[in-house]
Symmetry: C2
Subunit: 223 residues, 2 copies
C-alpha cells in the first residue's frame, strides 16, 4: 500500500459542529490523521473534488476515497477501526435509536440554533423556545445514564456535544440560560463530556465560535 493509500485526511473548518464531530470520533479511535482546514469563502480544489455534490466539510479521505456527511463519517470510522472503542451500540434497536437521535440533533437542534444565531427578534425568540423544547426531550432520553448510550461515551454524545457548546456561547451572546435551569442532568452530562480529551481537544472555544459567527454573518449579508 502506498503512503497516500494509508493516509487519513480530514477536510475541516475548525468552528464547524459537524467538523467537530468527525474530529472527536477520530480521537476516540486513536486514528492519526492529517488535518486540512478550509477557507469556506474560497474552497479548495481538493474539497470540490472530494465532495462534488455538496461542496461541504467535513470530508474524510481514506485510502484515496472520500466519505462525506458527519453522521456517515462517524459510522464509517466506527466500522473501519472496529476493534477500538465502539461508538455505536451493538444491539439493532439501540443502533436505530442512536441514529434517530443523531438525525434529530442534526435537523432540529441545528435548525433552531441557526435561528438563534442568524434570526432577529421573533425568529430568534422562536429558536430559543425550540432549543428549550429539544433540550428537554434530550434530557429525557438521557435519563439517569452517564451518556446517551449508557455507561460509555458514543455516537449521540459526539453529535450533541458541539451544539451543547453552542448553548454555552448563547448564554453570553443571546442572553439564554434557560437550559441550566430547566435541564440540570443535561448540564451534568455536558460537563462530563467536556472533561474527555477527545472533546476538549476538538471543541472550538467560545471566542472561536463567536468569531466564526461574525464571519458567516458578514458573508451571508453579502450573499
Amino acid at each position: 500500500m502506498t503512503q497516500e493509500e494509508e493516509e487519513v485526511v480530514l477536510l475541516d473548518y475548525w468552528p464547524s459542529p459537524f467538523g467537530t464531530m468527525a474530529r472527536i470520533a477520530l480521537v476516540e479511535k486513536g486514528v492519526n490523521y492529517i488535518h486540512k482546514f478550509e477557507d469556506l469563502s474560497n474552497k479548495s480544489p481538493l474539497l470540490l473534488e472530494m465532495n462534488p455534490v455538496h461542496h461541504k466539510i467535513p470530508v474524510l479521505v481514506h485510502k484515496g476515497k472520500s466519505i462525506c456527511e458527519s453522521n456517515i463519517i462517524i459510522q464509517y470510522i466506527d466500522e473501519i477501526w472496529k476493534n477500538n472503542f465502539p461508538l455505536l451500540p451493538c444491539e439493532p434497536y439501540q443502533r436505530a435509536k442512536a441514529r434517530f437521535l443523531v438525525d434529530f440533533i442534526n435537523k432540529k437542534v441545528h435548525g433552531s440554533s441557526v435561528k438563534v444565531w442568524m434570526g432577529q427578534n421573533e425568529e430568534q425568540e422562536d429558536g430559543k423556545k425550540e432549543l428549550v423544547e429539544w433540550s428537554k426531550f434530550l434530557e429525557e432520553e438521557l435519563g439517569d445514564k452517564l451518556y446517551f448510550g449508557g455507561d460509555e461515551f458514543g455516537f449521540v454524545d459526539i453529535a450533541f456535544v458541539p451544539f451543547y457548546n453552542w448553548l454555552i456561547v448563547f448564554k453570553t451572546f443571546a442572553n439564554f440560560n434557560t437550559i441550566e435551569i430547566e435541564c440540570p442532568k443535561l448540564v451534568m452530562w455536558g460537563e462530563r463530556c467536556l472533561k474527555r480529551d477527545s472533546v476538549s481537544k476538538s471543541l472550538p472555544t467560545s471566542d472561536q465560535v463567536y468569531q466564526a459567527y461574525l464571519e458567516f454573518k458578514k458573508g451571508w449579508s453579502h450573499g
Copy 2:
C-alpha cells in the same frame, strides 16, 4: 414472548415514497407484518404515540418499540433479519457510499420532486432541471451495474425506486420525459426493479400517486 412482542406493525400511508421503502425492505426480507394505514389529515393516537417527535409515517413497531425515519427503518430491518437477503453492502466504504446516496435521494431528489409537484411556473421548471441533474448523477453512480450496489438489489435501489415511480407520473402530469432521453441506463434499471415482486407489490400506481397529490394540494392550500 407475547403475541404483541413478536408482532411487526408498519404504520403507513400507501402513496408515500418513504412508506414504500419500508414495505419493499420488509418484503425482500420475507417478514410478515400487520399493515396499518394512516389518514394523514387525522393521525391516529398510535402514530402520535409511536412517533412523538415528528408524527410522521412510516413507523415500524417491533416488539412493542417504534423505529422511525425510512432510512433508519431499512437499516434496522437489515440488522434484525440479517440472515436473509442483505440490503446493505458488507464493506465499510461501500456502506458509507450507500448511506450517502440514500441521504442524497431523500434530500435532493425528494426536494426537487416536491417542487415539480407543488411549485408553479418557474419553481416547477427549476424542479425539473434539478431532477435531470440528479438523475444524471445517479446514472453515473449506477454505471453498467445491474443495481446500485452491484449484482444484487439493495438499500439505494429501495430508496430511489419510489421516486423513479414519481418520474413516470411526471411524464403525464408535468410533461416531463427528459429522463428517458438523457438517462437510458437509469430507465433500464427502473424497468428491472419494477419486475421484482417486492417493488411491484409495494409501489402505488400512477393513479394513486396522482390522487394523493390532489389531496395534499387541497390540504396544503387550506393550511
